[in-house]
Amino acid sequence: MAETITQAPETVNLTIDGKKVTVPKGTLLITAAFQAGADVPYFCHHPRLKPAGACRMCLVRIEKMAKLQTACTVPVSEGMVVDTLSPEVKQAQQGILEFLLINHPLDCPICDRGGECPLQNMTFQYGPGVTRFIDEKRHFPKPVPLNDYVSIDRERCIQCSRCTRFQAEIAGDGALAIESRGNSAVIAPFSLDGFQSHFSGNTVELCPVGALLSRPYRFQSRPWEFHSTDSVCSMCGVGCNIAVQTRTNQLMRVNSRLNEDVNEEWTCDTGKFEQYWVNSEERITTPMIRRASVLKPCSWDEALTAVAEAFSSAAKSSSNTVAGIGSTRTSNEEAYLFQRIFRTALGSNNIDHRMHDFPIRPMETSLAAIGEAKAIVAIGFDPKQYLPVVWLRIYKAISNGNATYAHVSSVDDPAVEAALAVGEGAILLTDDHIASADLDKLTKRAKSAGAKINVLLPDNNSWGAILMGVLPDRLPSLQPVGNGARPKFEALWGGPVPDKPGLATWDILKAGAAGDIRALYVLGSNPVASFPDRDLAASALEKIPFVVVQDLFLSESAQYANVFLPASSFIEKAGTFTNIEGRVQPFGAAIRPVGDSKPDWQILSELYARLGASAPFFGPADIAREIAHSADKNTFAGDRR
């Protein structure tokens, strides 16, 4: 007889509620049930967390098994016959809910989770309808702040352990645990520390009840009252996908939005809780012009006319006397328009956005690939502080793949050598403060070892500013101003583009301090506070006869402004940001511009018209179309996997 080789089946066939399904081996029964269209209720189950079997809500009948089983902990097996609908299962679901509600305060009318609460929904759908519990429920002080952002209402907790598992398995800090036991069990951080984590806000979204609460959002809105707009976080270069939730033209809450390639379904606490500046009372929302040495409110027309006149008369005398310092936070469309105005209407390449020189180098791997690395070294920066969600990928590599990880200060650290010895699968992370010489050295070593280097830029649109050409020597798509791409842009923009590189930020400031700049445009940046040599920045802005600052707040640099143009925040406009990976991500306008503020693109477009643009841009989409038309799609390809 011929030898038969029976291969272990990759898939498993089972029957759920009479329906046959085939799923990969190792799938949890609850996942298979969803695939079969069965509606198994659950609380503690979460596809990104390890099974816990903590809440018992997902009980189902599996044929040949003595008792009901928790579908979230049982892996499927061949020929399994499962029932999720029988009266027995129904009764179990009711029983579990009755138990869960014994100690639940049912204060839905004043609970922030009301209206989007899994416990509320499950109770409506599967609950017993009436309670037989007439005794005193357990009581706790409520709510108790656990850190600046999150508080806990322990009466509402159903001990599902999603929060503790998230902190241990995803954030990697184990900052929450279940304390005490039985009826006294509570969720708590370590008593001396409080809830110390960069990712605590995710537990608010994971909590299936209103136990973990956002402190800034508390009592601000009900979920059915706000409007949710797809957006992108403005706080760092990762570009986490977020939902901006707004009501009465104000930001209420930031939730995360799924993007498997970027943030999966997480954000850091900065993203979730530190974007309320958009609501700040301190925002300047009317244009201002300096009269008798004081900034006084004025009309947009007056402000823009003053800017247009100052810049065109300076440029007429010499295009070397105008300069612009852009930002790593404005959208791609705005960055593009900014440099186009300087290059065409003012004939100057004196534009930059950098506060210091750094190597411009695309990431060599994707963000997701970091989660699969075998060895990771962060050199010269702490990812947790600086680009927090990158840390979640690093921790994924550590916890799933047993990757080694070190965070070191120098390229010569032995940990770098150790990672390079791993060869392929080693990823070195560094930031824009690495010296070019160090990076070159590192690159050679990495190349021969087969390792990858990712230079991570800090801000939400650092790459946008670079790729849109807010650089003195580069046109969009990193094309050198002197080379063959210039005629293409001249044709597109309808006029000559200077072919000599302009001044970099540091040279602009030096020239300014020396009295060689007559008009300076500060767009969304703040050199007086963020340029390393603050004194130079301050004396330059002091000396330059005409300074226009376009921003949301009266920044340190705005103290020197002759004209202040109030810009709108990112939630008041649409556009795109380019993240650390070079991924272009769109964000929508969630609210109307606050006060008389205007989106940067609109301010620039109106100014452009006053400087003689033949056709204005009517919206970010107009600009985006031109960018798409002119962009070199290979700029960012690098040797990306």
């Binding site: 902190q167 241990a168 800090d173 184990g174 900052a175 929450l176 645990a177 279940i178 304390e179 005490s180 036991r181 708590a188 951080p189 370590f190 008593s191 001396l192 520390d193």
Partner: protein
């Protein structure tokens, strides 16, 4: 802070287990000895650091078990069993008697910090009920007279 000897002891405990965290219960026990019979948060942090575990998790475990004391206790911890066998043999009266003598109730500590009085779950000496422990020492077949004498003796220590 752990003494040098205690650290050595801890090293030896850890060696018995496949992972560091598996040594948590004996490590906490040792810490309780090092910290005058109870586990202040600093002790939990020290254990957590040693076993490379999040301190929140260590605190979670320490609060799960009643025999780890989370509050400062007296020099002598009197634990009188109040489970069924001892109870029917008069444990409650003994607890009251000791309490009166020391001027404290169940779960309290004398102002001089010398005695803490607790009711304990089964101490495993039901055959010789009623029984109690002071520190690690057992006292069985208790009578009001015996208890009086024992407490008097400890008062002198």
């Amino acid at each position: 802070m752990f003494t040098v000897e205690a650290k050595e002891q801890l090293d030896n405990i850890v060696k018995k287990y496949p992972t560091k965290r598996a040594a948590l219960l004996p490590a906490l026990w040792l810490a309780q000895e090092q910290y005058d019979g109870w586990l202040p948060p600093e002790a939990l942090r020290e254990v957590a650091g040693y076993l490379e575990m999040p301190p929140a998790e260590v605190e979670g475990v320490a609060t799960f078990y009643t025999m780890y004391n989370k509050e400062k206790i007296g020099k002598f911890h009197i634990e009188v069993c109040h489970n069924i066998a001892c109870m029917v043999r008069g444990a409650d009266a003994l607890i009251d008697q000791i309490g009166e003598k020391l001027g404290i109730g169940k779960g309290e500590t004398t102002p001089d910090g010398k005695f803490t009085l607790s009711g304990a779950e089964c101490l495993g000496a039901c055959a010789n009920a009623p029984c109690m422990m002071i520190g690690a020492k057992y006292f069985e077949d208790l009578t009001p007279e015996k208890v009086d004498a024992i407490v008097e003796e400890y008062k002198k220590k």
